[in-house]
């Protein structure tokens, strides 16, 4: 835990901030291309954030101080959770601060305040968004934690850095438990980040929105923080999927050359993942709210099968 490793950890956290809008822009661009449109530029999310930060923020008459504080709390908790996930290097001290259960807890904290902000103004939209968000997350949580437990029981640790190191060490082994856990986590990630088929990130129709309903009343810098937090969450889940299951290329020290290679490799992996996400969003339609439990039950079943494969077949 030397000073330079803390420095690299800080650099990693800043990289998360900087690259989150880029991933969102990339997914939007690929989706547009698949739908025969040119689409907005890759840097458009940055311009949107810049514009929103410059605009004046307004609050409803009925909003309380919690409404004002919530964007900062949501943004901070999501950013802190993201910075604990190994991005370009393993063995950084931030991984020791927060293990995977703490990351889930921080994301839950962000979600709690997001939903509170939704209920704060006293309109029907916010309440609806909050109710649906808690409903989806309640069903997604056991699937996510079960998939994570499978990984933790194989690597004998909940520390993400240890899990990545373990996978790097034993990468020549075919594990059905990892395969099931990956599939389950992909479904959970779709639900948690609010992508199709669970929620449509581009809509503002009240019958179809979950995340957008909760942030409907926000404007200006508050809205910018909420949007940035949502993009960070997408990047967080993307990095979790690519770096824990396919960690090859990550730096295992703080040598500048290894770090650069690590960055390039993870960006390539994320670009691929983004393209796959865009393709699936184009191919699938958004589900009715009460079909979402079926999807999350499938995720839970996959996670359970992963655990059972680990216990029965792999030990």
């Amino acid at each position: 835990m030397s000073l330079s490793s803390w420095g690299v950890a800080l650099l990693q956290a800043l990289l998360y901030l900087a690259l989150a809008p880029l991933l969102a822009g990339w997914v939007r661009k690929v989706k547009a291309r698949l739908q025969n449109r040119r689409g907005a530029s890759l840097l458009q999310p940055y311009r949107d954030l810049y514009k929103l930060f410059g605009k004046e923020a307004r609050m409803a008459h009925t909003a309380s101080p919690l409404f004002r504080a919530a964007p900062y709390i949501v943004f901070t908790a999501t950013w802190l959770a993201a910075s604990a996930i190994p991005f370009i290097a393993t063995g950084l001290p931030t991984a020791a601060v927060a293990d995977v259960i703490v990351i889930a807890g921080l994301l839950a904290l962000a979600r709690f305040f997001l939903a509170l902000a939704g209920m704060d103004v006293g309109t029907a939209f916010g309440g609806m968004g909050a109710s649906r968000e808690m409903f989806v997350s309640a069903l997604a949580e056991p699937a996510m934690l079960m998939a994570v437990f499978t990984l933790a029981m194989t690597a004998h640790s909940t520390n993400l850095s240890s899990m990545v190191d373990y996978q790097l060490l034993h990468s020549d082994i075919l594990r059905p438990s990892y395969m099931f856990a990956l599939t389950g986590l992909v479904l959970v990630a779709l639900a948690e980040t609010g992508r199709i088929p669970v929620d449509n990130p581009g809509t503002h129709l009240e019958l179809t929105m979950i995340h957008e309903a909760m942030i409907l009343e926000y404007s200006g810098r508050h809205l910018a923080l909420m949007e940035w937090a949502a993009q960070l969450k997408l990047l967080l889940y993307g990095v979790l999927l690519v770096n824990v299951f396919f960690p090859w290329g990550m730096a295992q020290g703080i040598h500048p050359g290894a770090l650069t290679i690590g960055l390039l490799v993870v960006m390539t992996k994320l670009l691929l993942l983004g393209a796959v996400l865009a393709a699936s969003e184009t191919a699938l339609a958004k589900m009715r709210l009460f079909r979402v439990p079926a999807m999350l039950n499938l995720a839970l079943l996959l996670a359970l099968l992963g655990l059972l494969s680990y216990v029965i077949l792999e030990v």
Partner: protein, 227 residues
């Protein structure tokens, strides 16, 4: 006996059998008939692949023939016949959702754990690896039986019965390196004949009671004075 001590082919076997278990669950849960038939076809493919891997790792050539037979029969011919049956019975769009899917999944998981508990006494060192796959195949058999209990449509009952047979085949292949070719061929033709007979019977049943709901077959009792 960790995973890292097994050869690549053995790891492949384990992965494929885990995927076959997943197809068992998919069969259990699937509401749409056509999708269930496809899941059964994939199960056939996976079992055939496991047979091929066992043949490659053990150098047992007759198993390659067995694998081809399974592939042809279980993955291609029988699903095609079922598909044709479904289309002629006009059931392609038929959906039969489970009433309590969560309970059924929990029962399935419980069966898997129970199968594992049953095979635990087999602790001999060289049998450990196959013992685990036998646990998975036993679970597949039990889940097939559970499917026959839980589902009402006659075609899905047949699928449950067939998936039981898949599980038994997988157990035989992984534990004992396959059955003698004569037995293999005999079983395969028995299954084929059974399929043809099922087809004939379905038409007859539908004509008698105008539905293929297994629960309604109790109309075929002697108490005709109630009708």
């Amino acid at each position: 006996m960790g995973l890292d001590q097994l050869s690549l082919l053995q790891q492949l076997m384990i992965t494929l059998s885990a995927m076959a278990l997943f197809t068992s669950f998919a069969l259990l849960e699937q509401a749409r008939l056509v999708a269930a038939i496809h899941a059964f076809a994939w199960q056939g493919v996976l079992v055939a692949m496991v047979t091929a891997v066992v043949a490659a790792s053990g150098g047992l050539e007759h198993l390659f023939f067995s694998a081809a037979l399974t592939l042809g029969l279980k993955a291609l011919l029988i699903p095609w016949m079922l598909h044709w049956l479904v289309r002629s019975l006009e059931l392609d769009r038929h959906k039969e959702p489970l009433r309590h899917p969560a309970l059924v999944i929990m029962a399935g998981v419980a069966l898997v754990i129970f199968s594992y508990w049953l095979v635990l006494p087999m602790v001999e060192e060289e049998l450990m690896f196959t013992r685990n796959i036998v646990a998975v195949s036993l679970a597949m058999v039990l889940i097939g039986l559970l499917m026959m209990v839980v589902r009402q449509q006659a075609v899905t009952q047949v699928l449950g019965f067939m998936s039981m047979e898949n599980g038994l085949f997988l157990a035989a292949v992984s534990a004992t390196g396959g059955m003698p070719l004569v037995v293999e061929l005999g079983v395969a033709f028995d299954v084929l004949v059974a399929m043809v007979l099922f087809g004939v019977f379905f038409f007859q049943i539908r004509e008698s009671i105008d539905s293929l709901d297994v629960d309604r077959m109790n109309r075929l009792t002697e108490r005709t004075d109630e009708e």
